[in-house]
């Protein structure tokens, strides 16, 4: 029985239709559906996982982003706040702020960069192992912000290092930083080793 919704129909017709649908589904669902891997032995079921290399690599990369300690100015406090218990970036597996760039794969550029400091930041970036990402945090990180046009300030980190995600704000709140990190994680999960 089908209801033709172009024709007038009553509530009773609707109830009847519902009853027929349920009865037919019940009649066809008398036995449990087998698990897709039920044809495997128990040993194999427990130990074999099939996936793609991309999925595994991207999963491991995005769930253990370790930021390098490179916080030249006041945005650092938002990073500190984000990494402490209230906002808690350890939820993303990135609570370990690495003092050594060799162990880090994310640079959060929290703060104004002066030309005097720029060589050190560039060096930190160069010392990080591939794959590596950069989040330009705050107005100063994006464009030099308030100090754009100053004689001493780098007008944006993208003059020094390639930037993946830009987070606006002066300073961005920790929520914004977390949102930016989430964007970066999405970006990482779209990578493919075939393109690297």
């Amino acid at each position: 029985m089908e209801i033709d919704k172009k024709q007038p129909y009553s509530d009773k017709d609707l109830d009847k239709y519902e009853g027929v649908v349920i009865e037919s589904l019940k009649a066809g669902s008398q036995f449990a559906i087998e698990d897709p891997d039920s044809w495997l032995t128990e040993e194999l079921q427990r130990n074999v996982l099939t996936t793609t290399v991309d999925a595994v690599l991207n999963w491991s990369r995005r769930t253990s982003l370790w930021p390098v300690i490179c916080f030249p100015a006041c945005c650092a406090f938002e990073v500190i706040s984000a990494s402490s218990h209230r906002f808690d970036i350890s939820r993303f597996g990135m609570e370990i702020l690495r003092a050594s760039p060799r162990q880090a794969d994310l640079m959060i550029t929290a703060g104004t960069l002066t030309w005097k400091m720029a060589p050190q930041v560039k060096r930190l970036y160069d010392q990080m192992a591939e794959p590596k990402w950069v989040i330009a945090m705050g107005a100063c990180g994006i464009s030099g912000g308030l100090f754009k046009g100053s004689y001493s300030v780098v007008p944006g980190y993208n003059h020094i290092v390639p930037v993946d995600v830009y987070i606006p704000g002066c300073p961005p709140r920790p929520e914004t930083l977390l949102h930016g990190i989430e964007m970066l994680r999405k970006k990482i999960s779209k990578r493919s080793i075939s393109k690297e």
């Binding site: 100053s150 001493s152 007008p155």
Partner: protein, 149 residues
């Protein structure tokens, strides 16, 4: 609370020793001739009763026609303070004796003033740029400094 000494009273006292070098004084400052700055500073530091053993800060100001340097002296012994000012009218070749021999705190501050204003401090032990890098052109806190962004 540190007691600020009255500029005119100190000036009249200083005039006994340095008659020619007190250019101007107000209630809260003494303006001295830059050529005798070292002598007056040493006198204020070493004379009993003054004992200004601490140089709080040095400020340079660009008034377009001249530079003015403001020295804030403090005596930790007597808990009193005094403001000393110097004017430099020759802006292109502005130079001044260094006070880093008297107060070591003058060292970095004089370097900073040299860096940002281009005022040279004679007999400074290590007069070079402190905030900006070697090779930077100009002195950015001068009013006539132009920077193309």
């Amino acid at each position: 609370m540190t007691k600020p000494l009255c500029g005119s009273e100190i000036a009249s006292e200083l005039k006994k020793e340095f008659a020619e070098s007190i250019v101007e004084n107000g209630d809260d400052y003494i303006l001295v001739d830059s050529r005798t700055l070292t002598g007056i500073a040493a006198y204020l530091k070493d004379t009993t009763g003054f004992d200004f053993n601490c140089l709080n800060y040095i400020i340079a100001v660009d008034y377009n026609d001249y530079f003015e340097l403001v020295y804030s002296l403090v005596s930790l012994k007597h808990n009193h303070s005094l403001t000393l000012k110097v004017r430099l009218t020759n802006k292109e070749a502005a130079s001044l004796p260094s006070l880093s021999g008297l107060w070591r705190s003058a060292d970095f501050q004089e370097r900073e003033i040299y860096d940002l204003f281009g005022i040279r401090f004679e007999s400074h032990p290590n007069l070079k740029r402190i905030l900006l890098w070697d090779g930077f052109e100009g002195h950015p806190l001068r009013k006539d400094f132009c920077h193309d962004a």
